[in-house]
C-alpha cells in the first residue's frame, strides 16, 4: 500500500535538537493530524520531511512508497509526490503564480518548455481558482507578493489542487481564513483524500478538524510525540489545552 513513513526521526537545526525519535505512517487516502503547542516542532517536522537545507537529520529515515527519501533534495521529493503547503509562504518577486503552477505541472509531465501554458489545463485552473476564492488577478501577480495571510493560504491550496500530490502536508491551513474559507478548505481536503491523496493537517487549533474526521491525531510537544489517538484527543485539547494534556499523561 502506498504510504509515507517517518521512522525514528531525530532532527536538529543550528545545533539545537528540535525533533526526537518521531515515527508515524500515512497511507494514501487517509487524513491524519499533527497537533501541538507553539514551538513544539510541528513546522520543523514538515520542513524536515520536505528537505529544508537548514535541518540536519541526526538519525532515522523518511520513506515514500518504500523508497528512502531522507537525503533527497526538495525537488526530488516533490516529484515523487510530496507537497507541503507552507505555514508562512514566502513572497517571490519575479515569478508569477500562474508561471509557478504551469512550470511545476510541465516539469512533472516531462515538458521541455517549462513556461508552456497548455490550454487544456486552463479550465481546471480557473475552476480551482474560483473554488479556493482567488481571482484572475492573483494568477498574474508575483507569487504571494502583497497577498494577505488568507490569500497566501488559498494560493497554497490552489497549487496542491493542481499538482494532485500523493501525500500532502498542510501547515496551519486555517490561519488567516474566515469561516467560509475554512469550510471550503475542508471540502477540498476531503475531495483530495477521496481521490487518493494522503493528508497531514498540522494545526494548533481543533476547529478545522471538526469538518474532517482524521483517522489519527498525533500530539507533539518539545519535539517528541506525547500522545496518539482519535478525534477525542482533539476535543480534549480544545477543552483543556495542551498543558492539561501533558499533565494527564504525566500523572
Amino acid at each position: 500500500m502506498s504510504s509515507l513513513r517517518v521512522e525514528n526521526l531525530s532532527v536538529s537545526i543550528e545545533n539545537k535538537l528540535v525533533l526526537r525519535d518521531v515515527s508515524f505512517e500515512l497511507k494514501r487516502g487517509e487524513i491524519i493530524s499533527i497537533m501541538g503547542p507553539n514551538g513544539s516542532g510541528k513546522t520543523s517536522l514538515a520542513l524536515a520531511i520536505m528537505g529544508h537545507p537548514k535541518y540536519e537529520i541526526l538519525s532515522g529515515r523518511i520513506l515514500l512508497d518504500d523508497e528512502e527519501i531522507t537525503h533527497l533534495s526538495p525537488d526530488e521529493r516533490s516529484l515523487r509526490g510530496l507537497f507541503l503547503a507552507f505555514q508562512n509562504p514566502i513572497e517571490v518577486k519575479g515569478i508569477r503564480l500562474s508561471t509557478l503552477i504551469f512550470s511545476a505541472l510541465n516539469k512533472r509531465r516531462g515538458e521541455r518548455n517549462l513556461l508552456k501554458s497548455d490550454p487544456k489545463i486552463i479550465p481546471l485552473l480557473m475552476q480551482n481558482l474560483r473554488e479556493v476564492g482567488l481571482s484572475n488577478d492573483h494568477l498574474h501577480r508575483d507569487v504571494n507578493l502583497g497577498f494577505s495571510g488568507g490569500e497566501k493560504k488559498r494560493a497554497e491550496l490552489l497549487q496542491a489542487l493542481m499538482l494532485k500530490p500523493k501525500f500532502l502536508i498542510l501547515d496551519e491551513p486555517d490561519s488567516g481564513l474566515d469561516v467560509d474559507g475554512i469550510k471550503i478548505t475542508a471540502k477540498k481536503i476531503k475531495e483530495l483524500a477521496s481521490q487518493g491523496t494522503g493528508i497531514i493537517i498540522i494545526t494548533h487549533y481543533a476547529r478545522l478538524l471538526k469538518y474532517l474526521s482524521p483517522k489519527e491525531i498525533i500530539v507533539i510537544s518539545d519535539g517528541k510525540i506525547i500522545a496518539r489517538g482519535g478525534s477525542e484527543l482533539s476535543y480534549l485539547i480544545e477543552e483543556r489545552g495542551y498543558e492539561a494534556l501533558k499533565g494527564d499523561l504525566n500523572a
Binding site: 526538495p74 507537497f83 507541503l84 521541455r112 517549462l114
Partner: protein, 393 residues
C-alpha cells in the same frame, strides 16, 4: 529650430572636445558605462556609402513601423496616426560626447503623431540597426500623443548589426489628460556596444505606464529620462534587466517631478548571471516648485552569477519639503535559501528556478499581446527561449 544638418555640423565640431561624462560615477568604478568601446566606431561620412548588412525581415503583421538601416517600412497605420520624416529638431544641449555622436550619426529621424487612437491593438514601432562598416548608427524618433487619448505603444529596439554601434533616441511627448501604456523591449547586440535613450515628457493630468525589459549586450547603456510636468501627472515603471550570456548593461532611470501631485513609482528587477555586468540606477528628483509629490523607487537584483558584477544606486534629490512620500530601496542578493526551498518544494531544480526567473523577465513583456506571432523578435530570441533557458535538467 535648427535643421538636422545644422545639428550634425555643430556636433561634428564639438565631438572631440566633449567628454562622455563630466564627472566620474564612483570612487571605485570610474564610469559605470564602458564608453571606451564606442571609440573604435566612426561617424558615417555620407549616406550613399552606407551598406545595409542586415536585411529587414518580412514585416510581421503586428508591426506598424519598422526602421531598419536606410529603410523605413510601414505596416498598417491607423486612422489618426501620422508618420513623417523629421525636418527640424528642438535643439538639445549637446553637453556630452554621446549627444554629439547621436546628432552626427543620424541615419533616420521620424515623427509619429497620434491625433486619435481607437484601436485595441498596441501600435508597434521597431528600430533595428542594420548597417555595416564600423559606424555609429543613430536613429531619432519623436512620438507625440495629443490631449485626451489612451494609447498602447510597443517600442522594440533591436540592434541586429554586429558591425555598427547603435544609438537610438526616442522621445515620447504626452499631451494633457492622456494615458499611455508603453511596452519597451531592447535586445542589444552581443558584438557591438549600444546606447538607447528614451525621453518621456508627461503633461498635466497624464500618466505613462511602462513595462520594459532590457537585456545587456557587449556594452549597453540604457537611459530613461522622465519629466513629470504639469499637475497630477504620473509615471509607473516596471523594469526588467537581464544580464545573461556574459551581457553587460548600465541602466539609468532619471526622473524629474515639477508639478503638484506628481507620482513616480519605479519597480526594477534585475538578474545578473555568470560573467555579466548589471548596473541599475534610478534617480528621483523633486524640484523646488513641486508640491505633494510621491516618489517610490524599489529595485532588486538577483545576483546569481559566480563571476557577475551587480550594481545598484537609487538616488533621491529633494529640493522641496512639501513631499507626500519620497522613498527608495535597493537590494542585491542571490536567490535566498528560503525562496529556493519554496520553489524546489514544487518540484523545480535550482537550474529550473534560475531559468524561470530569466524567462519571466522576458515573457512579461513579450507575451503581452498574446496571440501575435512575433517573428522578428522570435528570430533573435529564438536560441534563447528554446535552447538554453527552458530546458529540463
Amino acid at each position: 529650430m535648427p535643421s538636422l544638418n545644422a545639428l550634425r555640423e555643430k556636433s561634428l565640431s564639438l565631438i572631440d572636445a566633449l567628454p562622455y561624462q563630466p564627472l566620474k560615477d564612483s570612487p571605485t568604478i570610474k564610469y559605470y558605462t564602458d564608453w571606451k568601446l564606442l571609440d573604435s566606431y566612426h561617424l558615417p561620412i555620407h549616406s550613399a556609402g552606407l551598406t545595409q548588412v542586415v536585411q529587414p525581415l518580412k514585416l510581421p503583421s503586428n508591426v506598424n513601423v519598422l526602421i531598419s538601416g536606410k529603410e523605413l517600412i510601414y505596416g498598417t497605420i491607423n486612422e489618426g496616426v501620422r508618420v513623417t520624416r523629421t525636418r527640424e529638431l528642438l535643439e538639445e544641449n549637446i553637453t556630452t560626447r554621446i549627444d554629439a555622436i547621436h546628432y552626427a550619426s543620424l541615419i533616420q529621424a521620424i515623427d509619429i503623431h497620434f491625433a486619435k487612437y481607437d484601436s485595441s491593438i498596441p501600435f508597434r514601432l521597431t528600430i533595428e540597426s542594420a548597417l555595416g562598416g564600423g559606424i555609429h548608427e543613430g536613429y531619432h524618433v519623436r512620438i507625440f500623443i495629443s490631449d485626451g487619448l489612451n494609447v498602447d505603444l510597443e517600442l522594440f529596439e533591436i540592434p541586429l548589426s554586429d558591425s555598427s554601434a547603435y544609438n537610438g533616441v526616442v522621445e515620447l511627448i504626452v499631451g494633457k489628460k492622456s494615458s499611455v501604456n508603453l511596452t519597451h523591449v531592447v535586445i542589444p547586440n552581443k558584438k557591438s556596444p549600444s546606447v538607447s535613450n528614451l525621453k518621456i515628457v508627461i503633461n498635466e493630468g497624464s500618466s505613462v505606464s511602462i513595462n520594459s525589459m532590457h537585456m545587456g549586450g557587449l556594452m549597453h547603456r540604457q537611459q530613461i529620462n522622465g519629466f513629470l510636468l504639469g499637475n497630477s501627472s504620473r509615471m509607473i515603471a516596471n523594469v526588467g534587466l537581464l544580464g545573461n550570456e556574459k551581457r553587460k548593461i548600465d541602466y539609468v532611470f532619471d526622473s524629474v517631478l515639477k508639478g503638484l501631485n506628481n507620482e513616480l513609482l519605479f519597480s526594477g528587477l534585475a538578474i545578473a548571471e555568470d560573467n555579466s555586468y548589471v548596473s541599475m540606477r534610478a534617480i528621483g528628483r523633486i524640484s523646488k516648485i513641486s508640491s505633494n509629490s510621491l516618489v517610490d523607487i524599489r529595485g532588486h537584483t538577483y545576483n546569481i552569477g559566480a563571476e557577475a558584477t551587480a550594481i545598484g544606486s537609487p538616488v533621491l534629490e529633494i529640493n522641496s519639503n512639501n513631499v507626500r512620500l519620497a522613498r527608495h530601496s535597493v537590494s542585491i542578493s542571490n536567490i535566498s535559501e528560503d525562496i529556493l526551498f519554496y520553489l524546489m518544494s514544487r518540484g523545480l531544480s535550482i537550474k529550473d528556478v534560475k531559468n524561470i526567473f530569466r524567462s519571466e523577465l522576458i515573457s512579461k513583456v513579450i507575451s503581452t499581446t498574446n496571440d501575435y506571432v512575433r517573428t522578428d523578435v522570435k528570430e533573435v530570441l529564438g536560441t534563447l527561449l528554446e535552447n538554453n533557458s527552458l530546458e529540463l535538467t
